[in-house]
């Protein structure tokens, strides 16, 4: 990963590269256990179908958050620092689904502390359905010498 996205390289309306991934049962179970989510609808198909009424087990929210983070930092590089994420879960994501992460830059701002912020609307799409949407605020360096990770206290206003 060589990317090191700078604030000046981003404009409202930009659309970062998409990320596509074929979801399998392993994707769901591995993600649930990695996020220490032991609830049966994320690993037990009988429970998911017969109790939850869904057609299979499905991706849990903390693991989806990890996918969103991966998608965003693939774009920004390691100097991108997440400030805020708001998720809205609209539909489950099942094994056999092909999920595609898409996004649009909705705002850019340098705050009073000098931190460069990018706002994006990100969607986890399955076909034409936005299964999960996420409004994101992420900080990126304003120049080559800046590093959002070094911001502390009043210098970090997510």
């Amino acid at each position: 990963m060589k990317t090191r996205l700078l604030f000046g390289n981003v404009a409202v309306g930009d659309t970062p590269p998409e990320l596509g991934y074929d979801v399998t049962t392993t994707t769901v179970v591995l993600g649930a256990l990695a996020s220490r989510d032991w609830r049966p609808m994320h690993h037990d198909r009988d429970f998911a179908v017969n109790r939850n009424g869904t057609r299979d087990i499905f991706l849990n929210t903390p693991n989806q958050a990890a996918w969103f983070e991966r998608y965003l930092t693939d774009w920004t590089g390691p100097t991108g620092r997440l400030g805020r994420m708001t998720f809205r879960m609209n539909a489950p994501v099942f094994p056999g689904d092909h999920m595609v992460f898409t996004s649009t830059v909705t705002g850019t701002e340098i705050d009073d502390a000098g931190c460069g912020w990018i706002d994006l609307d990100v969607a986890l799409m399955v076909g034409d359905v936005a299964a999960t949407t996420c409004a994101v605020r992420i900080a990126v360096p304003v120049d080559e010498d800046d590093n959002p990770w070094q911001r502390r206290g009043d210098g970090w206003r997510p």
Binding site: A34, A66, W67, E69, T73, T79, R81, G83, R84, W149
Partner: protein, 185 residues
Amino acid sequence: MTTSSAGPPTGDLADIPDEVLARFGDVQYEQEGGFPVEQGYTWTTCSAVENANPLFWDDAVAVALTDGPIAPPTMLSVWFRPHHWSPGHTEPAVPLQAHFDLKDELDLPEAIISSNTITFHEPVRPGDRVRSRQILRSISGPKTTRLGLGRFWVIEVEYLNQDGALLGVESYTAFGYRRPGEGAQ
């Protein structure tokens, strides 16, 4: 303990038990995670989503950017999720206990999390002991959705490290409901 940002409850609360109303803004379930933050778990999570960010894999990058290894910010809630089993506990522990309390107290057997906001503050580092605390912020009046009749509520979870530094805040909006045709107990 009552936090300063506690907001008033909203909507028709006539049927809400007094003990629930009394909890608005109170800190509940302050607890420490069952284990210190460990780097192996961050690698497992990065592996699960094929996250190649060198910040989590390359110590030199971590030292240069963050003064040493950190965990992915979105793992914030992972560090306080209880073990499925531990000695002396006969029932599986559940995270977000304040949410499950409301389901019971309001007699709403089903619930979904409809939205979730996470705000990230200080990075989480290997060895940190993460503490969490839950705060009930609001309950709506009765609402009917396609799922059934119920109420929305908002619970915040604050995460702090062993030095008291704020690591992040999660705000959960949930809808607790009863399926159509299911009567109250």
